[in-house]
Subunit: 405 residues, 4 copies
């Protein structure tokens, strides 16, 4: 394998950092750079990225701008939601779940255009570099990976701006000064971290939030919605059938309005340090609880408890960037197997930052009023069975008690 790079596919947002990277790659490697800009519903115009790429000499056929929104929700967000994954008990993994899709598409493009290298704009302290690169390597084991933030000498904002000025890269007015925090966004969430958020004792300032109203400013009346699920995935809101991405966007609208899905978290990064982030996952927070709601009546206890035991590991794998790994796929196989009858309707109340499951029904419900009722159950359950059940569950404890107590 020679070290000479011929063509690089760059994950390109069109922002200042990846514009600088684009130029730096062209200069440093003296080769063609192909830009790839993904629409993951981050809510930004993508055409300016095309203009920028053109301006910096990227060939027309080497500018890729792809709408991945449906694929993102259908093949990444929904499978993850089937597992009820929460990292460290609370985090809905909004950034983590987008990285493997970007990596996958980047590798597809590399194969298409005959590139031998890929590059991204993630820094050397974060998790995203790991997620991108594990994806690259899993899907294209011999690809060359270039991570400029770990390699170049533009180690301060001042030097980055100087480089941009020197190479006539447009610098947005608000990027001249230091941004007060850094963000990542896609259809599932927006994350913010750094600077004003770095002291975990200080409350997140209001200006950091962009995807949700403050619960205090949310409507004074609760709103009720229903979500229909089929085989573990959302298919309709208030009875109206929707594609995965449309469904998530619709839930985002509800979540934004009612101030739902804000999370202030100090988490453990895969690279070894703790960081403090602020996440907004408006639609995802609603969806997560709704999915639990429909599982409550359609999932057997054995399946449900096994899922609960597997979920922390599953979440950790996604957080750490192991989406394309046999162990994540094995867990997915187990989870997906369990979802065959996770079909039905959940009713939710949304109010001032809160999501409350208030009803659930299903043609496949395992809940039996007849069995559970305090009333006469017509023999559906023989209470005397409980005596034997308890006696045999107690047997080992009694033998132990005789020895130890």
């Amino acid at each position: 394998m020679s070290d000479k790079i011929n063509r690089i596919v760059l994950a390109f947002s069109g922002g200042l950092d990846t514009s600088v990277i684009l130029k730096w790659l062209q200069q440093t490697y003296g080769c063609e750079v192909v830009t790839f800009t993904a629409d993951l519903g981050q809510g930004e115009e993508l055409e300016p990225a095309r203009a920028k790429a053109r301006l910096m000499g990227v060939k027309e056929e080497h500018i890729f701008i792809d709408d991945l929104r449906e694929e993102f929700v259908k093949d990444y967000v929904f499978p993850m939601m089937r597992a009820n994954a929460l990292y460290e008990g609370l985090y809905l993994l909004g950034t983590s779940i987008a990285r493997p899709l970007i990596a996958k598409r980047q590798i597809e493009i590399a194969k298409m255009v005959g590139a031998d290298a890929v590059s991204h704009g993630a820094t050397g302290k974060g998790n995203d570099q790991v997620r991108f690169e594990l994806g690259y390597y899993a899907l294209s084991p011999d690809v060359k990976v270039i991570a400029p933030w770990r390699e170049w000498d533009l180690t301060s904002r001042t030097r980055l701006i100087e480089f941009a000025e020197k190479h006539q890269i447009p610098i947005p007015r608000d990027k001249r000064g230091e941004s007060p925090f850094s963000t990542d966004a896609n259809m599932l969430h927006t994350s913010s971290e750094g600077k004003v958020l770095e002291d975990p004792w200080e409350e997140t300032p209001d200006f950091v939030y962009s995807r949700t109203v403050n619960p205090e400013d949310a409507p004074d009346a609760p709103e009720y919605i229903t979500i229909d699920f089929e085989q573990g995935d959302g298919v309709a809101i208030n009875g109206v059938g929707m594609s995965p991405a449309t469904l998530l966007e619709t839930l985002n609208d509800y979540g934004r309005k009612h101030g739902i899905g804000r999370l202030d978290l100090v988490e453990n990064r895969f690279v070894g340090m703790k960081s403090r982030g602020m996440y907004e996952t408006p639609g995802g927070a609603i969806y997560h609880l709704a999915h639990r709601g429909i599982e409550q009546i359609t999932l057997d206890r054995g399946a449900a408890h096994l899922k609960d035991e597997l979920a922390p590991k599953y979440a950790e794998l996604i957080y750490n960037g192991f989406w394309f790994s046999p162990e994540r796929e094995m867990l997915q196989a187990a989870v997906d197997y369990s979802q065959q009858k996770v079909t039905g309707t959940v009713r939710l109340k949304l109010y001032k930052g809160g999501v409350y499951v208030v009803g659930r029904k299903s043609p496949y419900s395992l809940y039996s009023e007849k069995v559970v009722t305090f009333e006469d159950d017509a023999g559906a359950y023989d209470q005397r069975d409980a005596a034997g059940f308890i006696k045999l569950n107690a047997l080992r404890l009694r033998l132990l008690g005789r020895r130890d107590r």
Copy 2:
């Protein structure tokens, strides 16, 4: 072992059901019945229980009314909270955690008064019978257990009332008719189930709630509080040191006021069926999130993730009644080991049903601004290390990719 019972210790609330049981035991077994009424902070007068027991002929020295509130919170609620236990992802185990303490005290009294049997008023369909009886058997392997609801023929409310009337047991006015649902309460929570709650599609009616205001009726302004933790346990609120029970009661007041801790759940009982319950855990819900908050900065990742993997099993053990089991104690040993430096302060915002951790600090914080900062970190972290880290994490995926992709 002869079958003749000499003396029975009954878990006695003083309500209609356990009063009927008291009489029925006296009649059926022709022996002395000792009553034990526990104050677990359920918020009811306990002296009426004494009067009732007297009225039914229980000897003065055989009437036990014990205040177990501090022991309950210190030795049961707090250890459980150290584990971040949630049953089926959501339930704070308020009923489950009280049963082992009642069982333990009942067995202690049985030993004190020389009783050879214990009895309780839990029905044959629920989990509580299991929790009581596993506790009894673990602590006193040869004790005789009498579960009237599984044995007698008072299988309808009408017959129960008839029995009460016939034996001049006072019947509270509101118990003549059918109660619209059934409840259990202690300092940690109130649970409600049955009757009006039996259709899981129907929203819980407002009159079911007793421990919290409706979030819609909660104050329009958020309130901030701090909780101080030492070695994993809460010790102060807003800087004021408190005993465990006082601390939980104080949080209950905050939770009640702000409508916090309501949960509508369809859960899987240990005895095999699904049931729908409504839980109010006002203080516990606040405490649970606060504990996670302080762990975020004081717990190492390895410890935190191991705890997350063990928590579902730990919660299941408590739910199923295995508090007094070697496996619960082993998990507790692991959890407690992790809490040695879980010391510090969490700041929380309470608002309309929501609890938000907004700040945490600790003399033992593992969060390092110096390491995590986007700014110059003065060599605390070498970004180039990440390259090797990723390469070796990727190695097996690359070997796999070469084979499979």
Copy 3:
């Protein structure tokens, strides 16, 4: 549902106990009894069972004798072996894995002949009653289950013999006296327990073993064999393709000859007590290690370790009788997913009770001499990557060490 039984399908071995049960069922329920005798390779003649059933008045079309050997190995033993399941670290689950198949076939026959009840000859202290009945209930939720050993009054051997004599049931000469231990057998193993085995300090007497020679009597020279695997299942021995049952039988022959697969175990029964058993699993013990051997070169680490973490739970489920449960099926889905490339050849040395994997090869091997070699690896692995790998794995421990040490 009425209590009147119309027709019962009995799991019928043709031995004394199930013959007595057959008669007892006819008498007690006054209904037709259908006999089902499974050939699971237990190595007994089955035609005598037919004769006995006839003799006791079972209609010709109600006598079922089915050869289930291939189904047993293909659909039960092999899937379990894919999971490397060992109960309590050592036991290959030979009895446990046969029960669900018998239950399944019994239910199929019940549906065929319009029976409303099923019955078996397992006692009330063992695991087998649970395994049979959980299978029955899972596959036919409303079937009536009759477990004579828990119901009748033939509670001693003497009374059983009396009953047999009275009803002219042939009593094998060796059954008049007490058998010195009790056994179960199928193609995978023979288990022995009870009587002479009940003191776990006493060595198992030689006459208990029936499936293997004593290692001391095994050949003095080792023997080498190969097993070929495809997608996780054995397909050939010494290069000769075989059906699943033939393959297992062939391994049984090797195992018998070399004294392989004896296990003396004190285990924990699902019904709560400890029991001591002696197991002979000649072919299974060879197969188990061979399967691990082929996985060593074809399974990725992530998959392998996840399998190892799941295996104890999987084994427990089978031991406890939960073969037909969603959680076992979910785990199977995960395990099976991992086996797609578990293809190749394992070479084994068999000698005096020992099985040694001495070689393995595969077209899908993930083992790379090029990467692992101590010699020059031509850049396949950059040793400097290890520095970063270690540094970032150490980071959290260093932060912790600064705080705690």
Copy 4:
């Protein structure tokens, strides 16, 4: 923190490699090197290491040769054995468990002599570098770690020999040529890997084994021994009390004689590749099975199964070098809690490579002949309890069966 190194503590075996490293460190860093040679029962003379260190100018007071045998077995091997740890189902972790002790002692010496750096002779492809360095960093977060194999240019054996010749480092006759494989040894085991072992299809040649006779050459008669355990640790053999190290040495003698504990394994390294090793763990293999034997009668099922579920993760942590981590310590706390009554005697048969537990007894036995017996149990167990036990365990499966089958 300056980069200037003042004093280095080297883990020094006295062999060629670490002698070259000693010289290289002196030259490269121009500072004092302190040598530390651990006696872990590897069976080599250690005084030659002293002579060599002297020869190379190490000050007398800077030559440390410590007998760590008792500490090794008592504080590392035994705790690990309590957990029944097996890496990838088979490997007794003989190399892995020695590394943390060496690292710990090295750090202690560094503190004693005021050294600011530590160094070891492990290569950049293996696990040992990770185990050493994670230990160093955990115990001394700011220590400087020097790993010559990852840093220097002596990348071939020829260059290493040249360097040794040039610096008059004595070269053992047998080290001039290429060694046919590489080994590591301590009291628990000897491992061999590389060269002649690199093709996993080729059987390990006989000359590789050094700690055990070939089973074929072992005595033709079996030998029986007993091991006494107290609280989970071995304390006596054949009734003779022994210190931990003496006990393990004695078992090693038995194991060697009977050809016990050979393992040919392809395993997954933490650094990402598969490697093939041959392990001899004669005493450890006996001890491991004996410990399982005594647990069989003294450990409750709940404790035993929890241990089995935790063991793979525990083993992985040790293998990967995380001995000094909170999660390993948490698991140890759980394991140790379970061992309080793991006291009693195990009887074993040793024969031609095989270890067979043939008897176990304990004053704390939970095995109850009275309960388990096929004979009349005088009411110790009521078989009718099993009916209720099964019915309630089946309930969820029946509800599921009604829905799905």
